[in-house]
């Protein structure tokens, strides 16, 4: 068991709990609208952005955020122009962003890959700063307000975007807003669980919530708590067994998903 200074521990927990809640909330959109590969693409382009930031001596986190948001902005228009689903475009962009990330890393002077980039790749919850926690709290407040204010429209889009459009809802605007939100959440959560693992927190927690109810309102109410629990259990496991935090969170969230599948009321008869 690792002993940590209490302020460091509290800050890590605050950041992780906020990121867990956020990832899970936006994860419900991503899973339901089959945007999973879009999220993967964003997390990897954020990693490429961070690598470019290190190469150009710019703030890696800021560059990661810009790269994730740029991906969010590009995906929709490219998908419309190419007449291909956004998931397919994301599938093409995903290896491309990884290739760019590795090129940027190769161009770094000296034999050692920047520690900052590695921490963004694997996550470093103990380096979370008070401003990171504040940003996460602001984004959680914005996300919650967005969901509450536009609940009925989002609910209709989540059921079927084309049918929502036929009912007079601007489905495309809501879909774009969701992609941007996803980009922001992925970029801000990168520091905690890392670019390679952040999306597991998004998909696993939301998928767990989706296993537990048929009622979308209940799913949205449950999902942030599942995300928080995934973080806390993973963080506790990493402290207890001295394992990497990001990997531990992915493991616990995967176990939670497996358990929810086994116990899901959706698999009970009657």
């Amino acid at each position: 068991m690792i002993a940590l200074p209490s302020t460091l521990l509290l800050r890590a927990i605050a950041g992780g709990v906020l990121a867990g809640a956020l990832c899970s909330l936006v994860g419900v959109f991503a899973v339901r609208l089959r945007m999973s590969s879009i999220g993967f693409c964003m997390s990897h382009s954020a990693f490429a952005g961070a690598a470019l930031g290190v190469l150009l001596a710019l703030d890696p986190l800021l560059m990661a955020m810009l790269a994730a948001l740029a991906t969010a902005a590009l995906l929709g228009p490219i998908s419309e122009k190419a007449k291909l689903p956004a998931n397919v475009i994301a599938g093409v962009m995903f290896p491309m962003t990884m290739a760019l990330a590795f090129i940027f890393l190769m161009l770094l002077p000296g034999p050692v890959i920047g520690l900052t980039v590695l921490s963004l790749l694997w996550g470093s919850v103990l380096t979370v700063s008070p401003s990171d926690v504040a940003f996460l709290a602001i984004l959680l407040a914005l996300t919650t307000s967005f969901i509450v204010l536009f609940w009925k429209e989002l609910n209709a889009v989540l059921f079927d975007p084309r049918l929502a459009e036929a009912d007079g809802v601007n489905s495309r605007a809501y879909m774009n807003a969701i992609i941007f939100l996803l980009g922001g959440v992925v970029a801000l959560s990168l520091k905690l669980v890392g670019g390679l693992l952040v999306y597991a927190l998004v998909v696993n927690s939301a998928s767990t919530a989706l296993q537990l109810s048929y009622d979308m309102k209940k799913i949205f109410l449950l999902s942030p708590f599942i995300g928080m629990l995934a973080f806390l259990s993973g963080f506790g496991l990493s402290l207890w067994l001295d394992l990497p935090v990001g990997s531990s969170i992915v493991l616990t969230s995967s176990i939670m998903l497996a358990t929810s599948i086994a116990l899901s009321p959706k698999r009970k008869r009657g």
């Binding site: 536009f150 609940w151 009925k152 609910n155 059921f159 049918l163 009912d167 007079g168 048929y214 309102k217």
Partner: protein, 248 residues
């Protein structure tokens, strides 16, 4: 009479296609009319309905309630009830029947205003009328095809539409349910002057009370008039062949 739908020289071509799905369509629909659009498979019936609903880009004049669907599409769709063809959801779809029906009111209400008590009264009344109120708390994916079709009809009616566009609305319904829906449509026309356009390829599914039939064949309107007139026309024979026994 008030014209609700006006189409003049309308052609709709799907992207990547050279041949239009519907060509040079001219159609006037008056308030309170119940029109059945018939035609064999691939005649362009669904394309015509989606063009009127502003969901497909088209050439020519398409006006609903005197407004161009090109410029006012979303605003108009808030007044139009639409039931898509063969809409079925997966078994695990996480939405309850009452919430899906309530979605019908979303466009009508507009953003930033929640669904209130008065809206729920309308939603429950529609579900009662269609006999699905007892299914309200069930997941939609657990229902049969016919029950899901009733949910989609209820969703369109919950909007309190001024124009109803129904694409093969009876395809999964039994005879009794068809009768119930037809009675509801008659009531809406008589009490509120709602205009109804029903698309069907199945001639036995033409709703009772239908006084006008539009026949589409190969993307063109080839007959338009009273049912007897259309069924007796050469165009009908060309489109369907000798099937008079079915409609007798």
């Amino acid at each position: 009479m008030e014209v609700v739908v006006r189409l003049e020289g309308v052609s709709t071509t799907y992207e990547g296609e050279r041949r239009p799905a519907i060509t040079d369509i001219n159609l006037l629909v008056e308030r309170g009319e119940l029109i059945t659009i018939i035609g064999p498979n691939g005649a362009g019936k669904t394309t015509l309905l989606e063009t009127i609903n502003g969901l497909l880009p088209s050439e020519g004049l398409v006006e609903v309630f005197g407004l161009s669907v090109r410029e006012h599409g979303r605003e108009l769709r808030r007044r139009i009830g639409y039931v898509p063809q063969d809409f079925m959801v997966e078994a695990g779809t996480p939405f309850l029947v009452k919430d899906v029906v309530a979605m019908g009111r979303v466009g009508r209400i507009g953003p930033l205003r929640p669904i209130r008590e008065g809206d729920w009264e309308i939603i429950w009344a529609v579900m009662e009328e269609l006999g699905i109120a007892d299914l309200a708390d069930r997941p939609i994916g657990k229902l049969s095809g016919g029950q899901q079709q009733k949910v989609m009809i209820a969703r369109a009616l919950a909007k309190e539409p001024e124009l109803l566009l129904l694409d093969e609305p009876f395809s999964s319904l039994d005879a009794r349910s068809r009768m119930v829906v037809c009675e509801i449509l008659d009531g809406l026309r008589e009490e509120r002057g709602v205009t109804v356009l029903v698309v069907t390829h199945d001639l036995s599914a033409i709703p009772e009370g239908c006084e006008r039939i539009v026949l589409l064949n190969e993307g063109r309107i080839t007959a338009d008039g009273a049912p007897d007139q259309v069924f007796a026309s050469e165009a009908f024979l060309r489109a369907y062949g000798p099937v008079r026994a079915v409609i007798a």
